[in-house]
């Protein structure tokens, strides 16, 4: 059984991640595209399930949380990579993307990095198997 306080913190964080992904994709994006929508729906479901497990102290919580974190980390890395490559492509075509463009892209990256890269990485570290033989 893992410690209660970190379980609560990560449970709430996963709940928040689910909300950010759902709102970011299904409310903020102006168009629907199946690859993004499906990935977001799956990730939202995984994060919600892992949050429920961690908050309720369920026995299966750690395993589901590991899957959710791995999925979030993979998708987060893909998203940031895609954003960075897109910036490279656009700046190749249009030249410097300008101060406004840089701010917009930095904000998107700043939104994605904490929830989809830093948090799952920390959570995976916390979810490492116990050192007890």
């Amino acid at each position: 059984m893992r410690q209660r306080l970190p379980s609560l913190v990560f449970g709430i964080a996963n709940l928040l991640t689910a909300a950010v992904v759902a709102v970011g994709v299904f409310a903020a994006l102006p168009a629907r595209w199946a690859p993004v929508d499906v990935a977001a729906a799956v990730l939202t479901a995984l994060e919600l399930t892992s949050a429920a497990g961690l908050l309720s102290g369920a026995a299966w919580a750690a395993n589901v949380a590991r899957v959710a974190c791995a999925a979030a980390l993979v998708l987060g890395l893909l998203l940031v990579t895609a954003l960075a490559v897109t910036v490279g492509w656009l700046s190749g075509i249009y030249g410097p993307v300008g101060r406004g463009g840089a701010i917009v892209l930095a904000l998107v990256a700043a939104l994605a990095l904490p929830y989809l890269v830093v948090l799952p990485a920390l959570e995976l570290v916390w979810l490492r198997p116990s050192k007890t033989p």
């Binding site: 102006p30 168009a31 890395l77 940031v80 990579t81 960075a84 490559v85 910036v87 490279g88 492509w89 656009l90 700046s91 190749g92 075509i93 249009y94 030249g95 410097p96 993307v97 300008g98 101060r99 406004g100 463009g101 701010i103 917009v104 890269v117 990485a121 995976l124 570290v125 979810l127 490492r128 198997p129 050192k131 033989p133």
Partner: protein, 561 residues
């Protein structure tokens, strides 16, 4: 012995993996940038696409190795089309382009600068910027209505043009051709490029000439009934459908100013014809007063702008009789005002009742209209209503969390503030307008901020061609703010940034105005001389584009810069 501890996600491994990913991502982005960036050399073009244009139609084309090289096809086209123009589009840079997905191809060409070279079966065809400009091929490819975004090349159109030239289905081009992005620079042999007007070089003569050319463009479009050519498609000179009373009234207002300042009899006559259309066909009963509109439900803006136009016509003595129409119309405007100063923007003529909805611009227009009416007729009720309107617009209407960091496009309020400055000065309103302009300054492009001609325009990124009407309307408000601030005692040094901001925006308008523009792409260049396009690549000419630009230029001219 205890079993070895298995840690599939050790901290060290994770940190190393993430650092490796970060480095790889940065490297990949730089490589992608380098691959897609163009290496341009204007002095040594790779090819020169020579085109013969006649009345906006392409009648001959050849690819030359050097400018001035003889070509029989070009000579034949020029001799068979008297008055045709030979135009060179020099390929000064070339690079790869993503053909799929369609959105990537759409966003791969810089509007107005880039075209394509397509090689298939040993033959190369060029799709040049002029080919796309004449067909409205830029900034029409991607539509995202939810955020009001339209950008990118119209890919089906581009492929259709190329398919026609190759005599093959468009699908073959996507699947089998070698497609490259090409940066072009246009020149017309024998016609040296016109001097470029900048904020520093702009003279008062430039400004006056631009304003009066815009007015004459509008005046030429007025028919026997006094209606404008509401939207003109510049390449074909066709009049497109649609009409709008607020914009009719706004254009009439601008014509009245231009007619009075230029003493041009044709402009005066055009003004009065447009005004008579409003007077005779657009004024209807609205409860106890009268308003401008049609149908059961009318809006505030039509009446407000009609008042502004009628006051200008009377004030400048083009026809003092128009003053007689004003009191009934201002009574309607006052009747639409709420106790807090805000206006109700629609009116139900069947129910004889205002509808308390708010639309963009109308409150500012009504406030300015009441102020102008008071200046002409001295009805204290108009001054009181205008003062309350201004107080609301610059106070409660723009008071919310973050309102110090965000401003909209509404440009009438600050003109009303300036108009009222001697009769009902409002320091808080002046402060609001100065802050709005400061916000605009932060959003203003400088030279080199984008691959387009953007110095003086407003926007947040380099990907979208800036629209010119928001530049013009911000100038109208900015020049009014400058005037009011000067009278309020602000020093020249304090106002220097705002004055420079205005000069750069006005210079942009003058550079983009069709005076004459790329004449070879127009069916009738004389018909669109003086017009203001929506943007550098959107050549549908609506009357308010010329009106706002013209009003801004005239305001600068009158203020003496």
């Amino acid at each position: 012995m205890a079993p070895a501890f298995e840690d599939p996600v050790s901290v060290r491994v994770l940190v190393r993996a993430l650092l490796g990913w970060a480095v790889a991502t940065v490297a990949l982005s730089l490589i992608v940038r380098s691959v897609f960036a163009l290496d341009t050399d204007a002095d040594h073009p790779r090819a020169i696409v020579a085109s013969v244009w006649s009345s906006g139609a392409l009648v001959g084309r050849a690819v030359l190795a050097h400018a001035g090289d003889p070509d029989a096809a070009l000579d034949a086209a020029l001799s068979s089309h008297p008055g045709a123009t030979l135009v060179y589009e020099s390929a000064v840079g070339e690079g790869p382009v993503l053909v799929r997905p369609e959105a990537a191809l759409a966003m791969s060409l810089v509007a107005g600068r880039d075209g394509l070279s397509v090689t298939m079966n040993g033959r190369t065809e060029y799709l040049t910027p002029d080919d796309l400009l004449v067909r409205h091929g830029y900034d029409t490819g991607l539509h995202l209505p939810s955020i009001g975004l339209v950008a990118g090349v119209d890919v089906p159109l581009a492929l259709a043009i190329l398919a026609d030239r190759f005599g093959t289905p468009a699908r073959d081009i996507v699947e089998h051709a070698r497609v490259r992005r090409v940066r072009f620079v246009r020149s017309v042999p024998g016609s040296p490029p016109a001097p470029v007007i900048t904020g520093d070089s702009m003279t008062d003569d430039d400004v006056a000439a631009g304003a009066f050319a815009a007015a004459r463009f509008l005046a030429r479009g007025i028919d026997a009934d006094g209606r404008f050519r509401y939207i003109v498609d510049a390449p074909t000179n066709r009049t497109l459908p649609g009409y709008d009373w607020p914009r009719h009234a706004g254009a009439t207002y601008f014509l009245a100013q231009a007619a009075a300042l230029s003493h041009d009899a044709d402009l005066a006559w055009a003004t009065l014809r447009a005004a008579s259309q409003l007077r005779d066909h657009a004024i209807v009963p609205c409860g106890p007063s009268r308003c401008v509109g049609e149908g059961q439900r009318v809006d505030l803006g039509s009446t407000a702008l009609a008042v502004i136009a009628f006051v200008e016509i009377a004030r400048t003595a083009l026809d003092r009789g128009y003053a007689l129409l004003v009191p009934d119309l201002t009574a309607f405007l006052r009747g639409q005002q709420r106790p807090d100063g805000e206006f109700m923007h629609e009116y139900d003529r069947g129910a004889s009742a205002p509808i308390d909805v708010q639309l963009l611009y109308y409150s500012g227009e009504a406030t300015l209209a009441l102020s102008r009416a008071h200046a002409l007729l001295a009805d204290p009720r108009d001054l009181e209503a205008a003062t309350r309107g201004l107080s609301y617009l610059t106070g409660p209407a723009w008071s919310f969390f973050g309102s110090r960091y965000y401003f909209g496009e509404e440009h009438w309020t600050c003109q009303a503030m300036d108009d009222l400055r001697d009769r009902a000065p409002d320091p808080r309103a002046l402060d609001f307008c100065l802050r709005w302009q400061e916000y605009g300054r932060a959003m203003q492009y400088g030279p080199g901020d984008a691959p387009f001609d953007v110095d003086g325009a407003y926007g947040v990124g380099a990907l979208f061609t800036p629209r010119l009407t928001p530049v013009a309307s911000r100038c109208e408000a900015g020049i009014a703010t400058l005037e009011a601030a000067r009278r309020a005692g602000k020093t020249a040094a304090e106002l220097s940034p705002l004055a420079r901001q205005m000069r750069r925006s006005l210079a942009l308008l003058l550079r983009q105005q069709f005076r004459p523009g790329p004449q070879h792409l127009f069916a009738d260049p004389d018909a669109v001389y003086g017009a203001m396009p929506a943007s550098a690549v959107d050549w549908q000419l609506r009357i308010d584009f010329a009106q706002h630009a013209g009003c801004a230029l005239l305001a600068w001219h009158v203020s003496g810069g």
